[in-house]
């Protein structure tokens, strides 16, 4: 039987073969950890916050009633231990459920169920130079009265005789140099496994300090260790989003891995033009090539080529920038070591070797800039030969540098070309922040704090400058294809501006706090992600018109850090006009919790059938436990069911719509999130209206101009159109006057339209 608990206060019993919940027990308060004992089937133990006190938690046992029915109330709670820690690693149940042990800070408490006796022990609070000796995890011996505890200073203590308050004793095992993250006893209890930040799994035999075995190089810090019940396998969960399965003889067996979670995606999301793989920081100092289609890591390229030391608080070289040339023939990487006073920088250029099918280091430039490199790009010209290939780096040392390939004059050199600096440009001694080439490669735009400078890429003359005070430029990009005469910039003052390169004038601007600005390499579309009132929203627009063609409000609650368009292998046929911009490329986002997300163009109907599979792919980072995810979906679904019920009464004729049908008949746990379902469901109900698409566009435009206002205002608009019309204009300032008159008129017209259908919901 599989039980799961969730923060919403429910315990679910699952049929884990079919993936169907059998029963739901409602407890009421937040459930932070769940323990079940083999000996007591009718009750489970959960950690709940103590009512009335912040940050104190207690372990309670919950009686699971045997009554029939799906939803049950479990109100029979009895407190077992007070003052426990919220982490599930801090409580363990002993041999045959005779006792429970809990650790918090420097205290260990053991409660014997039969004797109803509570013993407390503590270790000295003295801080040693290797760190404090707070407890970090606990494990109980399966057959003997022995408790193993891990400590923040890397020690493992084995407690025995703890049913005596005074004559207890413990022995110490010490190998880890940093916090012991988790401990696990083998099934027979003869050996103990421990893991920590060193990414080494240590096997202690017979509780002896001298008999230990190691499984080193597990890649990244170990978070959890778990033993299978037959003792044949053990698995470790790592901080970089990976599960490693290890044989009982401490031999590596298999690893389950998707996207590697690195310490910070500094490189941004880049698409390898050759493999169409997503390229970003992987293991420390490595570049991972992640295949989006198969959810697999293609390979990992060691850029830094230095031994990574698994220790907290060390400044080690890491990859910060990466850029591919158009054909993927050249790869440029920048690595730096975080030092406050003088950073250690290296620019490396890698050549793709067709024979070995891998990148080969061509040129290594130490200290290419005096200070951090802020941006780097290749001149993207597909048709031109190698000698036109140019790399531009922008640095915080107020210059941008142009690097070109030169023939190697040294006949003994193994390679014919190497890279060297060709031109150094600067602008009023401002820090260079971003750089990018126009599509044809003739122009280079470099932003210097508040100013965007445009340079001729042949003569390296400064052509013109743009600025939009008072904001520093955060992102810039050129328009593509038909819109190549536009340069788009986003400032940190919350403006998105579009300059016409031919007239050297501001074409339009909009008040939008843009975090990410990403042009689609295969179309004119540009995606901008904004961050406003704790939610991210997506806007897709073409530079030639200030009206977005697509808006997705409340894309997610997390801050979206990065986005990238990944070209599709072949253009998709897209039914909905709304998603036309996704025809040639797919848009991926990475949030600051390193969740990778994408927008799906397929309508709900198409996706519902294989939805269980898709769900796994879409949420390729299962950071939240699966149970939580399902619990959330189910709850939202049930609420929706109620809403739907009302609607269905009114729209009887719509009931045979396939979407609704699917929605109502698909098991709740396989449904995607309600935010997906809602608009699609509504669409399916509104098909009868002809001006639907126009209406939607209108709605979206209005949303944009009212960025600063609440959503609730939109509904008030219906009655106060004229009044509302002026206020957003004022907030935008004089720049809005540059909007073409015709558009403005259209805008007004749209505003006067009927919104009453919204209020129906």
């Amino acid at each position: 039987q599989l039980y799961s608990s969730s923060l919403d206060g429910s315990i679910k019993l699952w049929d884990f073969m079919d993936g169907i919940p059998i029963k739901t027990f409602t407890v009421g308060s937040k459930l932070l950890a769940l323990y079940a004992l083999a000996s007591s089937e009718d009750s489970v133990f959960v950690v709940i916050p103590k009512s009335g006190e912040r940050d104190t938690f207690q372990l309670v046992s919950v009686k699971l009633t045997k009554a029939a029915g799906q939803d049950l109330e479990a109100k029979e709670l009895s407190v077992v231990l007070d003052g426990v820690d919220a982490s599930p690693k801090h409580i363990a149940f002993g041999r045959e459920g005779e006792y429970v042990a809990s650790v918090k800070e420097v205290n260990l408490q053991v409660y014997f169920f039969k004797q109803k006796q509570l013993n407390r022990f503590s270790v000295s609070t003295m801080k040693t130079k290797s760190g404090n000796n707070h407890f970090t995890c606990i494990a109980c011996h399966p057959t003997e009265d022995c408790i193993a505890t891990g400590h923040a200073d890397g020690k493992i203590r084995l407690w025995r005789n703890f049913h005596h308050k005074k004559e207890y004793t413990f022995s110490t095992l010490h190998w880890h140099h940093d916090t012991v993250m988790d401990l696990a006893f083998s099934v027979e209890g003869t050996s103990l496994l421990s893991g920590g930040v060193e990414s080494v799994l240590v096997l202690w035999r017979n509780e002896s300090d001298c008999q230990k075995d190691f499984l080193p190089r597990l890649g990244s810090a170990i978070e959890y260790i778990s033993m299978s019940s037959d003792g044949a396998l053990c698995c470790t969960l790592h901080t970089d989003n990976r599960i490693t399965i290890i044989n009982s003889n401490l031999r590596f067996s298999k690893s389950i891995q998707g996207l590697i979670k690195s310490r910070g995606v500094k490189t941004g999301l880049v698409v390898d033009p050759r493999t169409k793989a997503l390229v970003l920081n992987g293991e420390p100092g490595h570049l991972q090539f992640y295949c989006l289609q198969s959810d697999q890591q293609l390979f990992s390229l060691d850029i830094v080529q230095r031994q990574y030391i698994h220790q907290a608080g060390l400044n080690q070289a890491d990859l910060v920038k990466v850029a591919f040339s158009a054909q993927g023939k050249w790869l440029a990487t920048v690595e730096e070591r975080e030092e406050v006073t003088d950073p250690e920088l290296q620019l490396k250029l890698w050549f793709y070797d067709e024979e070995t099918q891998s990148f080969k280091l061509n040129t290594r430039i130490t200290m290419p800039h005096e200070d951090h490199i802020t941006d780097m790009c290749f001149r993207d010209m597909d048709e031109l030969e190698d000698d036109s290939l140019i790399l531009v780096t922008a640095g915080r040392d107020c210059v941008f540098k142009v690097w070109v390939m030169v023939e190697d004059t040294d006949p003994e050199a193994q390679q014919s070309v190497s890279w060297s600096c060709d031109f150094v440009g600067s602008y009023h001694n401002y820090q260079a922040t971003k750089c990018c080439f126009s599509e044809d490669g003739s122009l280079l735009a470099v932003s210097f704090e508040e100013t965007v400078t445009v340079w001729d890429s042949v003569t390296w003359d400064l052509k013109c400058t743009f600025c939009y005070p008072p904001g520093k430029i955060r992102n810039i990009c050129f328009g593509r294809l038909t819109c190549s005469k536009y340069l788009i910039g986003a400032t940190d003052y919350g403006f998105l501006c579009c300059w016409n390169l031919l007239s050297c004038a501001l074409e339009w601007s909009a008040h939008l706090n843009v975090l990410v600005l990403q042009p689609d390499p295969l179309s004119e579309h540009i995606a901008a992600v904004s961050w406003l009132s704790k939610e991210s929203s997506l806007f897709v627009f073409k530079p030639n018109e200030p009206r977005p063609i697509y808006i997705q409000r409340n894309l997610c609650k997390e801050k979206i850090q990065l986005a990238v368009f990944v070209p599709r292998d072949e253009p998709e046929t897209i039914g909905s006009e709304k998603y036309l911009w996704l025809r040639r490329s797919q848009l991926f986002f990475l949030t600051d919790t390193q969740e990778l997300m994408t927008l799906s163009t397929k309508s709900l109907e198409e996706r519902l059938t294989p939805s269980s599979k898709q769900l796994a792919v879409e949420e390729s980072l299962p950071v939240t436990p699966f149970s939580l995810l399902l619990g959330k979906h189910r709850r939202q679904q049930s609420q929706e069911d109620v809403d739907l019920g009302k609607l269905l009464v009114r729209n009887k004729h719509e009931q045979d719509s396939p979407a609704v049908k699917e929605l109502l008949h698909t098991p709740a746990h396989v449904l995607p999130s309600a935010s997906f379902l809602c608009p699609i469901f509504i669409n399916s109900l509104l098909i009868s209206k002809e001006n639907k698409s126009a209406e939607e566009v209108a709605d979206e435009v209005e949303m944009e101009s009212e960025k600063t206002e609440d959503d609730s205002d939109e509904e008030r608009d219906v009655t106060e159109t004229e009044q509302e019309d002026t206020s957003p204009m004022e907030s935008l300032g004089e720049m809005t006057c540059k909007l073409p008159k015709s558009q403005e008129k259209e805008l007004r017209k749209i505003r006067k339209m009927d919104y009453s259908w919204i209020s129906a919901f």
Partner: protein, 686 residues
């Protein structure tokens, strides 16, 4: 505290000998310790582990094993091949018997204390019967090749387990036959390496515990000859092993200086199945832990680094107090330095020679804490080598510096030292009177006119020193009721009127030197006297006991002084009482009669009788905080104890004149450099 000019002496090159073996008195409160130089020491648990008796070593008499039998008889055996019984009252070897099997490596007494078994170089185990006044050879057990390194009797006395190289054997005592032979060797990649069983213990359950050179502690079932448990505790040898009397705890010592405790713990609560579990590791030593002992309340270990470490078991302690502190003894609890105040000379006593040094001098003055430049460097005047194999018991230099005396077990030497300009001549005084030897303590009178010799049976001899180099026996004091124990501490009053002597029974007798008669006895206190001195002005006797209590006894009035009674009523400060090392020397400041200067190894203290005693809430060591306070606040914070911990470890401190102190330090690091390199251990992060 007052300001002093301090001679900080660091040229006393004493290297204490390493600890070779330890023996706890069964059901008793004493610990016998033998050092590598053959010296045997006895520590008294009841007197806060005070080093009660010292029997100096002998070149020809190494001690490999010590054994208590029949309560309080102490036997030692060594590579010389002799079994020696020690006379603990006279502090010398009483008599010895040749073992007859070459060098003796091990010795053990049976549970009832009637038989001694020795393990010899030639592989024989011999039994000796203990009879009053000596031992008698009884018989040989089955002899095999290979030296017997360790022995252990089964508590019932029917079997003996003996550890040798690669093998351990169990003998039946009645038949003398080998009844079990267990190979303990260790095969590693087909290369057989010699495995030495360093230590063995036979438990009453029939389990034999061995520790060997591969770092293993193994538990064997002797009847079946099978291995029960094996614990690898170290990568290097486990040299020593001791079992508690209840047989529920074992301590082992390794050659890396670490000691480990094993405990017999129930596997499950309430179940009878018990298992030995390695519990606490301790790293107090830097070198081989050659000897361990397990008393009922403490783990005791002694190493080649000369340290004796007593680690109390917290769970056996009733309360936190001075019993529960970790004690580390390196230096003897008695004085090895004597000082000629007037001549500014220091006499250092080594095991087989003496060194006489003249202190340096300076004419500079400076502020507190400043190091003054020396005008004249300290000078090594004389080195006196004692002849013969015997080690020196005691030594002394007269206050004027012209007399020098020392004693070994069988001889007493008195020298006349003359200083002519820069040259020094030492002339032995001929025809010293035949005295009851050995002398345990020597003390010159303050006018250098007579010498007091502490001797056995509680007696003190008075010798009159005659110019230009002669002496005459004047008188011998004996306690009126008689005493079997030797006198180990003497104190003379400055006016030459009184003499105080303490014997091994801790009774303090005061003699009148003018009329050569016994004056009085200080009321007995249940603890060992660690130091005593007579005040030069008031003739009050100040006594320090090993439980850190201080008493002041007025000799003329034959009673404790009012101050002493006040101290007893108020009680001393908790921190003072919890110190772990005894006061080893007391002296006075003649300019400031209320001051008593005393020191132990870790601190020097000026006790001002005119100031109030601190209560337990006050800070005892408050010198540094006092310095920061303004004058008025300082007055309120003042208390009687003014403690200075700047000089550590302190072997000797004395007042040369009113404002000049001499402090003899022996930095531990200097001793460490004299020792062989410890076993290299990888230290993380290096």
């Amino acid at each position: 505290m007052g300001e002093f000019e301090v001679h900080r002496v660091r040229f006393f090159g004493l290297v204490p000998a390493g600890v070779r073996c330890l023996a706890c008195q069964p059901r008793g409160g004493r610990l016998a310790l033998a050092r590598t130089d053959g010296a045997v020491e006895v520590y008294n648990f009841a007197a806060n582990y005070f080093q009660e008796k010292v029997i100096p070593g002998h070149e020809a008499r190494s001690v490999e094993a010590l054994c208590w039998t029949a309560g309080d008889r102490l036997f030692g055996a060594g590579l010389g091949g002799d079994i020696t019984e020690y006379d603990l009252a006279r502090l010398c070897a009483a008599h010895s018997v040749d073992g007859g099997g070459g060098p003796i490596w091990s010795m053990a007494a049976n549970g009832s204390g009637t038989l001694l078994a020795i393990g010899c170089e030639d592989g024989s185990v011999k039994l000796f019967q203990i009879v009053p006044g000596g031992i008698q050879f009884e018989r040989n057990l089955d002899r095999r090749k290979g030296r017997i390194l360790c022995l252990s009797w089964h508590p019932s006395g029917t079997h003996i387990a003996a550890g040798s190289i690669d093998v351990l054997r169990v003998f039946d005592v009645c038949s003398g036959q080998t009844v079990q032979r267990i190979m303990v060797n260790y095969t590693m990649q087909n290369a057989k390496r010699e495995c030495i069983v360093w230590s063995i213990a036979f438990l009453s359950s029939g389990t034999v515990v061995t520790s060997d050179s591969f770092g293993r502690v193994q538990f064997w079932d002797w009847e079946r000859g099978t291995l029960l448990e094996s614990h690898t505790v170290s990568t290097s040898a486990v040299l020593s092993l001791a079992v508690s009397e209840k047989e529920d705890s074992i301590i082992v010592g390794t050659s890396t200086g670490a000691t480990y405790q094993f405990q017999l713990l129930p596997v499950k609560m309430g179940s009878l199945e018990k298992r030995w579990v390695r519990t606490k590791p301790f790293q107090h030593h830097t070198h081989d832990v050659r000897a361990v002992a397990h008393s009922s309340t403490a783990l005791i270990s002694g190493g080649l680094d000369a340290q004796l470490v007593i680690r109390p078991l917290m769970e056996k302690m009733q309360k936190k107090g001075y019993d529960a502190v970790l004690r580390k003894f390196i230096f003897p609890h008695r004085r090895l330095v004597s000082c000629a105040r007037k001549a500014r000379l220091l006499l250092f006593q080594f095991s087989q020679h003496l060194e006489l040094w003249r202190l340096g001098s300076t004419d500079g003055t400076g502020k507190d804490g400043e190091v003054l430049p020396l005008r004249r460097m300290p000078e090594h005047l004389v080195q006196l080598k004692s002849k013969g194999p015997e080690h020196i018991y005691c030594s002394c230099v007269s206050p004027c510096g012209s007399w020098l005396a020392y004693s070994t077990a069988s001889r007493f030497h008195l020298y006349r030292v003359r200083y002519e300009g820069n040259s020094v001549s030492v002339k032995k005084v001929p025809k010293v009177p035949k005295l009851l030897l050995p002398a345990y303590q020597l003390q010159f009178s303050s006018d250098s006119g007579s010498l007091f010799v502490a001797s056995a049976r509680g007696s003190v001899h008075v010798l009159q020193l005659l110019e230009p180099g002669g002496c005459k026996h004047l008188h011998t004091f004996r306690p009126p009721s008689g005493s079997p124990e030797a006198v180990y501490l003497l104190a003379v009053s400055a006016d030459g009127h009184w003499l105080a002597a303490v014997g091994g029974d801790w009774a303090i007798h005061i003699y009148n030197l003018k009329c050569f008669k016994h004056h009085c006895t200080v009321p007995t206190y249940s603890c060992a006297v660690t130091a005593l001195a007579i005040h030069p002005v008031s003739n009050n006797l100040v006594i320090a006991y090993s439980d850190q209590q201080l008493f002041e006894f007025s000799i003329p009035e034959k009673q404790y002084t009012a101050w002493s009674r006040m101290v007893q009523n108020c009680g001393l400060h908790k921190v003072w009482l919890e110190r772990d090392s005894p006061i080893t020397h007391i002296t006075f400041n003649p300019k400031n009669p209320s001051h008593i200067l005393l020191h132990d190894v870790y601190m020097f203290c000026v006790l001002d009788k005119s100031l109030p005693l601190p209560d337990n809430s006050a800070l005892l060591m408050n010198q540094s905080t006092l310095k920061q306070l303004p004058e008025t606040a300082r007055q309120r914070q003042l208390h009687a104890f003014k403690i200075c911990k700047k000089f550590q470890p302190l072997l000797f401190a004395d007042l040369l004149d009113e404002n000049c102190l001499v402090m003899v330090e022996r930095p531990i690091m200097d001793i460490k450099t004299q020792l062989p390199l410890p076993i290299q251990k990888k230290k993380f992060g290096t």
